[in-house]
């Protein structure tokens, strides 16, 4: 690839709007191997946001857990449709936010009884795995939103890029 040469077919008939540039959109199904693609998407978005390796791993974990829940509880391990979208939002106050949205067509969920327990300690006897996924998602993400739609669910995870805060928010 000689990417430095000017091409005379360079006019782009359908230029992207500015806010589309940092956006990825992915139509997948809830087969477990798709977590590998999700991870690659998170890694690309995390690199664009200059996250550290540790932050990247955490964000990838939260996205992985949400996808696993949709696969396992939403679609009961049967292949189902999921749309995944991710974009980087530049706020006016200089903060960057990484947004991840899953849209599924599984039965709508009532999450009101979920124990999201940020503060719930894990006692010696409390080592059953159930509820760990949700706890991890909440401990990593700054915003976890669920919207019940007439034909499925929409899940939004927002991660505020912390390094931007350190560099001095006005």
């Amino acid at each position: 690839m000689d990417c430095n040469s000017d091409s005379n077919n360079a006019r782009n008939k359908q230029p992207l709007k500015r806010n589309q540039v940092d956006q990825l959109n992915f139509q997948l199904n809830t087969q477990p191997d798709c977590v590998h693609i999700l991870r690659a998407m998170v890694e690309v978005m995390a690199a664009r946001s200059n996250l550290t390796d540790m932050e990247t791993n955490r964000v990838a974990l939260a996205v992985d857990e949400l996808f696993a829940n949709i696969t396992c509880h939403g679609y009961n391990n049967k292949p189902g449709s999921v749309t995944f979208e991710s974009h980087l939002q530049h706020n006016e106050d200089g903060l960057q936010e990484l947004h991840f949205t899953f849209r599924d067509y599984a039965p709508t969920v009532n999450i009101s009884h979920w124990n999201c327990g940020k503060s719930k300690p894990c006692h010696d006897l409390d080592i059953t795995p159930g509820g760990l996924g949700i706890r991890l998602i909440h401990s990593i993400m700054d915003v976890v939103q669920h919207e019940a739609l007439h034909d499925g669910n929409q899940w939004t995870l927002i991660y505020v890029c912390k390094h931007a805060i350190k560099r001095g928010r006005p």
Binding site: R39, N57, R58, A60, C122, G133, L136
Partner: protein
């Protein structure tokens, strides 16, 4: 996409399980299939070498919790070794870093 699990007999009743790859909903059934048969009366210690594991999610942790429960019931030892920083971080987020026996160097204090 890969997960390799290799069993090494250390000595009578002492087993090393060397895990290499990523542990997620796609691959954790393989870890579970390798671990389950080791959780028997015959074994006294099961050591899991996680040096080659670059990622672990709650499906992997749930699998390891089964080993922990076996240890409590049988009076055996279930020890995790050489966790990469990002994997140890997940155990800390899950508040399970103090629940598991985690030894960063591999089997130095064998009983």
């Amino acid at each position: 996409m890969k997960l390799d699990v290799t069993m090494e007999h250390q000595s009578a009743g002492v087993i090393n399980l060397v895990v290499v790859g990523v542990v997620n909903i796609h691959t954790s059934p393989r870890l579970r299939d390798a671990l389950k048969p080791l959780l028997t009366e015959q074994n006294k210690e099961v050591h899991i070498d996680l040096a080659g594991v670059s990622f672990m999610d709650s499906s992997g942790i749930a699998t390891l919790v089964e080993g922990l429960q076996w240890a409590r019931q049988s009076g055996g030892r279930f020890v995790l070794h050489k966790l990469q920083a990002v994997v140890l971080d997940v155990f800390m987020l899950a508040k399970l870093d103090t629940v598991f026996e985690i030894a960063q160097p591999l089997i130095e204090d064998k009983a």
